[in-house]
């Protein structure tokens, strides 16, 4: 409870400090809008040309894009400490100061940054979701809404876990390892489309190793009434938990790795 209070307090402070330069903030926020708008435009144009992708129609594709985009940028916004300058903290030895404080390392890293500029990206994602719901005639129920919320929360933790892997590699190698981007940013680019669009190796990668398919897409497809993987309804609530499992595993791995941490500072 204490940790959550601490987190909220740092978020409030950080957001306030970012808003100190409103002109720069607004320009950058608009830049984010152009970026995510461009991604969405690509999907719209593809749908316009090809009409459908396997059994997924226009609305379904917008919905998949939307849920990915909302989750990814919520993580980029509120998990910025881990998704952003975590490798930098390790490279410069700033992580040392965290070791001296009576709180968990990951908690402190998480509290160290926020990125409110992403709000426009989240807005684009929401627009895509609304369009998707409208075109695919989604009938919302309480159960579906709960499933959606669960998927986004679990996706948040999945992404935090994957970004933490980058930090872990960085502790071993000091250099930041671009390769991990394949799982994080690559996962985002790939899994804005339903995973059954991909050949088997990629499908396995995004179902088992970085389970975007289980965390985000299975719930999304159930909400669209076209389940990606067959199974009784309750399994749809079970599959997003894989995101939490990944986070937990990575967290344990991180704790072990910290024993090897040798500071780069002087």
């Amino acid at each position: 409870m204490d940790t959550i209070k601490l987190y909220l307090h740092s978020m409030r402070m950080l957001i306030r400090s970012q808003l100190e330069y409103p002109a720069s903030f607004i320009l950058q926020t608009i830049a984010q809008l152009v970026m995510e708008g461009g991604e969405m435009l690509a999907v719209i144009l593809l749908v316009d040309r090809f009409e459908r992708m396997n059994r997924w129609e226009a609305g379904d594709l917008f919905f998949f894009f939307g849920i990915m985009s909302v989750t990814f940028y919520l993580t980029e916004c509120f998990g910025r400490g881990i998704t952003g300058n975590f490798p930098y903290l390790i490279r410069t030895g700033q992580l040392d100061t965290f070791l001296a404080r009576p709180r968990g390392i990951l908690t402190q890293v998480l509290c160290s940054a926020v990125d409110p500029r992403r709000i426009t990206c989240i807005a684009v994602g929401i627009a895509a979701l609304v369009m998707g719901c409208h075109l695919s005639h989604v009938t919302w129920t309480v159960l579906k809404a709960a499933l959606f919320a669960e998927a986004v929360v679990c996706g948040f933790f999945l992404l935090l876990g994957l970004f933490t892997v980058e930090g872990i590699f960085c502790i071993y190698s000091v250099k930041s390892v671009e390769l991990v981007n394949a799982l994080t940013y690559g996962g985002r680019s790939a899994c804005q489309y339903p995973v059954d669009a991909f050949p088997r190796p990629l499908r396995v990668l995004f179902t088992v190793l970085a389970p975007f398919a289980l965390t985000l897409q299975q719930p999304a497809s159930v909400i669209l009434d076209k389940p990606l993987f067959d199974g009784p309804v309750w399994t749809a609530f079970l599959s997003p938990l894989s995101g939490i499992v990944v986070f937990a595993l990575v967290w344990l791995w991180f704790q072990r790795t910290m024993r090897y941490y040798r500071s780069t500072g002087s």
């Binding site: 607004i26 950058q28 608009i30 152009v34 970026m35 435009l41 671009e178 390769l179």
Partner: protein
């Protein structure tokens, strides 16, 4: 060549992105084949990914100098500032992208048909594409110097620069190949300066543009390069006359 590990990691990442994009287009094609052969799209994706570095803003030194006031020393030097940075940016883009492009293109050529980079439509097309890529490089360097001009004015590079760079990503065909844009849009966007960087050479390579179209395309490339360079020179001259130097 000092950071071989980083380059290799970057290349592998870029290849992975390329494979993802191609997988998506392949699936879409399976659903509704288009008049344009699939190999053209896969080649397009690989060439875009290979020369992606050319589009990225590449000179952090100049940004630092503007921010810290170090640019004052450059102003004292007896050289044409615009020309100096133009050549510098062009050289950085060329070496950065060639180093990454070479291994990627070899890999892409080895992939099976329908996944990889197809051979050029005609030998002449390849030569023209290489020539066009050179013109594209001149054009993109001119564009970047204009962006730098804005930075000299505002000192904060992030907002304006991010915006111009994003427009570049979209309209140069990096997010979505320009050949997949609606046909009516293509008539307009292929005329924009952004399309001259990579899209025009790639069209010549894949045979999307016939050889007879090449002179016209090159004229557009050359025209934009001249216009953008002229604009950049004027902008920089104005900036230099009333430059505020940071620092103390």
């Amino acid at each position: 060549m000092q950071y071989r590990g980083a380059v290799l990691g970057g290349v592998i990442c870029q290849v992975f992105f390329g494979l993802i994009l191609i997988a998506v287009y392949r699936t879409l094609y399976a659903g509704k084949p288009q008049s344009m052969p699939l190999e053209r799209i896969t080649s397009y994706v690989w060439l875009q990914q290979a020369f992606f570095r050319m589009l990225l803003a590449s000179d952090p030194d100049l940004l630092d100098k503007i921010r810290t006031g170090g640019i004052a020393y450059d102003l004292c030097r007896p050289l044409n500032l615009y020309g100096f940075y133009y050549v510098r940016i062009a050289a950085q883009k060329l070496t950065g992208s060639l180093m990454r492009a070479a291994p990627m293109l070899v890999f892409a050529l080895l992939l099976p048909k329908g996944w990889g980079l197809a051979a050029p439509a005609t030998p002449a097309g390849l030569l023209l594409a290489a020539w066009g890529l050179g013109l594209g490089l001149l054009c993109v360097s001119a564009l970047e110097n204009i962006t730098m001009g804005f930075t000299m004015r505002t000192l904060d590079s992030r907002g304006m620069q991010a915006m111009l760079n994003l427009l570049m990503m979209i309209f140069s065909g990096n997010v979505l190949p320009l050949i997949l844009f609606p046909d009516s849009w293509q008539k307009v966007i292929t005329l924009l300066p952004y399309a001259q960087l990579l899209d025009a050479p790639i069209r010549l390579y894949t045979g999307e543009a016939a050889l007879s179209e090449a002179p016209g395309m090159m004229m557009i490339q050359l025209g934009w390069t001249i216009v953008l360079t002229a604009l950049g020179v004027l902008f920089w001259q104005r900036n230099q006359r009333r430059m505020e130097i940071q620092g103390g």
